[in-house]
């Protein structure tokens, strides 16, 4: 079992996990923003590495990626940043395959692990293609988180959930990241996952309000909140404002 999963299982016994997402390098103070999220009660952090062609992301996170790239963000700058801050909660890095592929899978996995990250999410790499990355991550002990979508058929849910490390990422809807109304198909997806694994199962994609997070957390182990918080950072560079925006999510989950 990966370190990430161990920590998240332990967390499950205490409370519903609140996992905010932020794009690394999207603002000069992005590390302060991460700390603000911790201060607001984040149980883990999902940190994005920007990619030029983020095909699973909606307009908000695309914009964050553009800003990060324009500011010269690379896998190295992000790794250095999180390494320096010694963040007190698990960090999971989210990026697209080409970013780690270009550096070399082994090198990328070591780099992230050495920076203190405990897991990764590569949304454009499905089960069938994840082998090489998992292999590269095994040595440094990085968990490879896989997604399950509302369209994933039952037999496949078992295989993907079984292969997911750290937690299982249940996509709430057939959509890219961004705002959405309602809870989508999330409950059905989570039920299918729970039927085949007891790995912690977090729901993400389109969770945009504390109320929405609370309703979702009724039947899963945690929620991932991305665009709703990233949007705050796009609007204001003040970490206090982000903390203020994140707190209600924490509260809603407790």
């Amino acid at each position: 079992m990966t370190e990430l999963e161990r920590r998240l299982r332990a967390l499950r016994d205490q409370r519903r996990a609140f996992v905010p997402y932020l794009m690394g390098g999207m603002s000069p103070r992005w590390l302060d923003h991460l700390e603000a999220l911790v201060a607001a009660g984040a149980d883990a952090l999902e940190v994005g590495l920007p990619f030029s062609d983020p095909m699973m992301d909606g307009p908000v996170i695309q914009e964050a990626a553009l800003r990060a790239l324009a500011a010269g963000t690379t896998i190295e700058t992000v790794a250095t940043g999180i390494a320096e801050r010694h963040l007190p909660v698990p960090v999971v890095v989210m990026t697209y395959y080409n970013v780690v592929h270009h550096l070399g899978l082994e090198r990328a996995a070591s780099l992230l692990s050495e920076a203190g990250a405990l897991g990764t999410i590569l949304p454009d790499v499905p089960l069938e293609e994840i082998g090489p990355w998992k292999d590269a991550s095994a040595g440094p002990g990085l968990a490879t988180v896989l997604l399950i979508a509302p369209s994933t058929p039952p037999a496949r849910v078992a295989r993907v959930a079984g292969a997911s490390e750290g937690f299982v990422y249940a996509a709430a809807r057939m959509a890219v990241t961004g705002h959405a109304e309602g809870t989508g198909d999330a409950q059905r997806v989570v039920r299918a996952i729970r039927a085949v694994t007891d790995t912690p199962t977090y729901v993400g994609i389109g969770i945009s309000t504390p109320a929405h997070a609370a309703a979702t957390a009724e039947w899963c182990d945690g929620v991932i909140v991305g665009s709703a918080l990233v949007e705050r950072v796009l609007e204001s560079d003040d970490p206090a404002a982000l903390e203020h925006a994140a707190r209600p999510f924490r509260a809603a989950l407790d």
């Binding site: 062609d53 592929h101 550096l103 293609e129 997604l147 979508a149 996509a171 057939m174 890219v176």
Partner: protein, 393 residues
């Protein structure tokens, strides 16, 4: 992979180390559904019949092979052109969209979406959608919707909705991203009609199979012309569908296969292995794995990647790929127009440009050469005029 040079990819959708299926989990079932449906359809004589019949009755196939006598005399070669410019909508793009539209119907879906750069694939898709009564949405970079405003209107006339894409570089690669994003939200009733031999498995293989009608026809036609195996088979390469289509007819023989890329978009020469748009292939990218923008006079070659099978054919040496520059391309377009009465598309003119440059060099005098005339130049005439008058890009 099967034994034939251009055979079926392996189980994972790979040609050698290229290809695969790098898509969000949400799209995996849809890709599997397409693969399954395609395998069944392609093995079904009724589907093949309808595909062939539509290409004939509606699309104008077979397109002829034209001996280019006056160009041949100029170059000291024996040059033949496979005339995809004569296919309905003006390029080879129709072959693929007819196949995918029929498959869409077979899968019980009622809508297709597509990306487009210059608009050729968009117009072709809108055309097939109109013919088969499917709804159609085309994603097009905002920059391109302005540059190619008439093609936008053409698609609208055909009943399609054109969505300007305002992300990234606002060109073709962003249109692909946006189409993929859209597809996630509507896979249930919508097929994504990809426009070249790229994207996740089974698209590179499926599109090549639909386009192989070019090579199959050309091979028989060249036999009738007494040149069953031309010394060279030359095609321009954007994603690589017209090249794959004509190569497919000659890959198992002795002909040298030549793909010609735009210098500013040459993924084979200047690219590195990477993952984009669902495939592992050669891609133009910076030191950090960020995809860079291709730059070419021709919108249809403005793509930072190349179909994975081409990356594979290049790696084995079975095909060779060369870049040509914008100036050579304009000269070649003018030459073919003047000596043969055929105004080629700017994309196509890349293939001609290579031939003109290499006649007597890489291509020895007296060689027989089959060029794939992938499309007509009508769409490019305004741009060429502006360039020649010094107002162009």
């Amino acid at each position: 992979m099967s034994d034939a040079v251009m055979g079926r990819p392996d189980e994972s959708g790979r040609f050698g180390e290229f290809g695969g299926r790098f898509v969000p989990e949400a799209l995996v079932p849809a890709c599997l559904e397409v693969e399954e449906a395609f395998v069944a359809a392609w093995g079904d004589p009724a589907f093949r019949d309808e595909f062939q019949r539509t290409l004939q009755e509606f699309g104008g196939r077979p397109t002829p092979v034209t001996p280019l006598d006056r160009l041949s005399a100029r170059l000291g070669l024996r040059v033949y052109a496979k005339r995809e410019d004569l296919a309905h909508t003006g390029s080879h793009k129709l072959n693929n969209v007819v196949g995918q539209a029929l498959l869409t119907r077979r899968m019980g879906k009622r809508r297709i979406i597509a990306e487009t750069g210059a608009g050729q694939h968009g117009v072709a898709t809108a055309t097939a959608a109109a013919r088969f009564g499917l709804a159609c949405t085309v994603f097009m970079g905002e920059v391109d919707t302005v540059r190619q405003a008439l093609n936008v209107f053409r698609m609208e006339l055909l009943g399609a909705t054109v969505v300007p894409v305002r992300t990234g570089s606002r060109t073709l690669k962003d249109a692909v991203n946006e189409a993929l994003r859209e597809w996630v939200t509507c896979v249930e009733d919508t097929h994504y009609c990809l426009g070249s031999v790229m994207g996740p498995h089974p698209f590179p293989w499926m599109v090549r199979e639909f386009q192989s009608v070019i090579g199959t026809e050309a091979s028989a036609q060249m036999r009738d012309l007494g040149v069953p195996a031309p010394d060279f088979v030359v095609a321009c390469v954007g994603g690589g569908s017209n090249a794959a289509g004509i190569f497919a007819g000659f890959a198992d023989g002795p002909s040298r296969l030549i793909g010609v890329e735009a210098r500013g978009g040459s993924a084979i020469v200047y690219g590195a292995p990477g993952i984009l748009h669902g495939m592992r292939s050669l891609l133009l990218q910076d030191d950090h794995g960020q995809i860079t923008e291709a730059e070419s006079i021709s919108a249809g070659l403005d793509y930072p990647g190349i179909g994975p099978e081409h990356a594979y054919l290049a790696s084995t040496g079975r095909a060779q790929y060369y870049p040509v520059g914008d100036e050579e391309v304009i000269d070649a377009l003018r030459l073919l127009s003047e000596v043969e009465g055929i105004i080629p598309a700017l994309e196509t003119a890349h293939a001609i440009a290579w031939l003109v440059r290499e006649a007597g060099r890489e291509v020895p005098r007296g060689s027989s050469v089959l060029v794939n005339l992938s499309g007509r130049g009508d769409k490019d005439v305004a741009q060429v005029r502006d360039i020649l008058r010094g107002e162009g890009d």
